[in-house]
Symmetry: C2
Subunit: 470 residues, 2 copies
């Protein structure tokens, strides 16, 4: 490998491992050249690469520093949802978003799909088509009811990296994380039961609550630290909550990572009130921090945490490979999973298992973390430049979506209607609540199309809002 | 093509189209030779082929006749399940069967998987492999929430063959028929509602009833004509039934095809009492009759029939491509389908759509009908030869499973335990009821391994039963 790229790679690792923290000054060019026995220009080239990736920044006459996210725009305040269990509505909004827009589009900010053109995915695709060629018979039979054993062994390895000791037998493979969430809800709760959720929270989980005839109790949620433990405690005192459903590690839609101590506190509260926790970890592996943040499941000593995840955000949603680590609810989960869709297709499981085993998954995650972080930074700058005074925004610590709260006078649904005329597709915020809150909010992905297109789209949106304002 | 094979093929078509009925005398060799302008030996060879396939039989000094199933063993009498709604149990039995037997097996009679080594499946596998190679990007994205439009267009064509005019927009693609049934149950019924089912009936549907917190009301069912309309009417008078769930065309486990007039009567009764019908048509395309029998859905004028099916029995279960034609329940079905597992993988849908479009599906079905019918006939003979006096058996009109009722003194679960020691795996009958009836019954597939192995396994079972009897 070319020497400066090699050096850049090593420095990047150090930064990602946290050896240099955001804001830290990096060694001088001269110092680094001496340390690594390379020329000054090699170091300069390496720094230039890292600067382009947005990992470091040069300050005039001071040298290079690890980039820190400058929060020029305020974050959304802690949410204040209605403090009582509610029936979930808003399915029409979700359906409208899912069925997509038939016409030509300019920029699609509405979805939450990962980058799927990355060269690091190629070995996986190759393995999948070769399995289809040479092991077609395995693809035609029913597979193991719990999922392919080889995949579950790899899931066990991945879980270790998130702080949990789980055996292959502790997993149930599902058709994506949506099935995982749905099965878990039906396994821990019955008709009319109450589920505590983040607010805003993932619409797919909200709709699964609706479909299972359960009620959602939205808990005040902070855009930095997640669900309020104090508010949750009050809610548990007041209502017969059956389970807490949270996405604490790279939240959808806000992107925060709940601090570890708070994850532990949430677990302890669940113990105290004897309720289950359904932990949606679908974005956990694409947190920007490496090693990745630990799960709530990592504190689980009595099996009350049902960990749900999938490869839909870390690899691609089309594989439909998700899983549950259901703890003490294993028997019920296996039953509901079986009646929901029987076994999962075998070949995607085999392909992903071998991709993980051969290191391809780790390599892909490394590449994606860099891409997503850089895209986030660009998006934040774009929003800062184009959106009206008083806009608030979440600062994701992973993944590829963020949450925008416009000043209260704006109606996101109306803006989305207007934007659609220009081919800009938006995800209005109200479907991220049970009952149509967040009418001034939107979720944006920051990876559709290229940065220039995104910026142009943000400008168009900004102009629309100015025009509405006058 | 060799001349006698060509002639055999034409004769077979005539038989399958019903131009010659079972028991009909076929034209003499001389007559046929003259009609077709071929030699006597060509006709003799053609007849020999059909005889080997079990479609016709030679009678000494009388000539050739279309084979008819001789019912040497009595059929099971109409069932007499408890006439009240029950909670479904027996999940442990189902799970035990689904997780399979770890050791070496001699013959596996327990499952209901089609023949998947047929050469007529090859074009489908090739297309799937090529799609994985050349259209990998389509495989990675979320697909259409209702399923691939191209596939739904083909489903519309297939539905026409079963007597229904359905547009592409009338279908929702699911992850197999199990998801279809589960989604439909949840779409038409709520906590505690009653579902009328056949008895015996498919365990996967029974377990979906359990998982949705519904109750099963087993209706007396005849092994020739299906669910008793009289008994159903009495049940509808007495209980607040929300839906009737039936597999009227090639029933699982009994294999009967409900007569068309009775299908219509069932539909009219559902209208009269304003209940939904969930029609499981998963085996419909592999009925031995061609053209295939019409569905209950074909009578549906007010959208109360939710037709469920999949390619799991006609092609292979591993593709996990099923569908619902939900009629008036479309909105609810789409919601529950979405929360259950989000979208279905695209590439298997594309592959199957092109397989149907290019005629491969019809070709495969033709080949399978012949194979399955021949296998059924062999199995019936084997059971007649090996099983104890007083055994009753169903005479399937399609598919690859049949139902055996041993004399009452036999315990099928105990027999299954014993048989397992010899590597013969059985499906005890009790899981085909809500509450453990049919303890003397078993479901057998008649296509695992080869005919000689099956016969040897039946002999072993027969000997076991004789030994138990003494």
């Amino acid at each position: 490998m070319i020497r400066y790229l090699h050096l850049a790679g090593r420095l990047k690792e150090h930064i990602q491992m946290g050896h240099f923290a955001p804001g830290d000054k990096l060694p001088s060019v001269r110092q680094l050249a001496a340390e690594h026995g390379v020329s000054l220009s090699t170091v300069q080239e390496a720094y230039r690469v890292l600067e382009q990736e947005g990992l470091i920044e040069a300050r005039a006459r001071s040298g290079y520093f690890v980039a820190q996210l400058r929060e020029r725009i305020a974050r959304p305040a802690e949410s204040q949802p209605p403090q009582r269990p509610m029936d979930v509505s808003l399915w029409e909004d979700v359906l409208d978003m899912l069925t997509g827009y038939g016409g030509e589009t300019f920029c699609e900010f509405q979805y939450a799909m990962p980058i799927m053109t990355a060269p690091t995915l190629k070995p996986l695709l190759k393995s999948l088509y070769e399995l289809n060629r040479h092991r077609a018979q395995d693809g035609m039979s029913y597979g193991n009811i719990q999922g392919d054993l080889g995949l579950r062994e790899q899931l066990s390895r991945l879980a270790a990296g998130a702080g949990s000791h789980l055996e292959a037998g502790d997993f149930v493979v599902t058709s994506g994380c949506q099935e995982a969430l749905s099965v878990c809800l039906r396994s821990v709760a019955e008709n009319g039961d109450v589920i505590a959720v983040e607010s805003p929270g993932f619409y797919g989980a909200m709709q699964a609550i609706k479909a299972a005839n359960l009620k959602a109790l939205e808990i005040p949620t902070d855009s930095v630290a997640g669900m309020s433990i104090e508010a949750l405690k009050l809610a548990l005192d007041q209502w017969p909550v059956k389970a807490i459903l949270v996405t604490p590690t790279v939240n959808n839609p806000q992107g925060y990572v709940m601090p570890l101590a708070k994850k532990q506190a949430l677990y302890q509260l669940a113990q105290e009130y004897d309720v289950a926790i359904i932990e949606d970890d679908i974005y956990g592996d694409i947190a920007f921090d490496y090693p990745r943040p630990k799960t709530i499941k990592s504190f689980d000593t009595d099996g009350r945490v049902l960990l749900c995840s999938s490869f839909s955000k870390s690899l691609a949603p089309g594989f439909r490979v998700g899983w549950i680590a259901p703890g003490r609810y294993r028997d019920k989960v296996l039953h509901i999973k079986y009646v929901s869709s029987s076994m999962c297709p075998t070949l995607p499981q085999l392909a992903i298992a071998s991709f993980i085993r051969q290191g391809g998954y780790e390599r892909h995650l490394r590449a994606m973390r860099v891409l997503y972080r850089k895209a986030r930074d660009g998006m934040l700058k774009g929003i800062e430049a184009c959106f009206p005074e008083g806009t608030r925004v979440s600062y994701p610590e992973g993944g590829f979506v963020l949450w925008v709260a416009l000043p209260d006078r704006f109606d996101a649904t109306r803006l989305a209607e207007q934007a659609k005329q220009q081919g800009i597709i938006l995800a209005p915020g109200q479907m991220f609540s049970a009952t149509g809150k967040y009418r001034n909010c939107l979720r944006f992905n920051y990876i559709d199309r290229d940065p220039d297109t995104r910026l142009a789209a943000l400008k168009t949106l900004g102009n629309m809002m100015s025009a509405n304002d006058t």
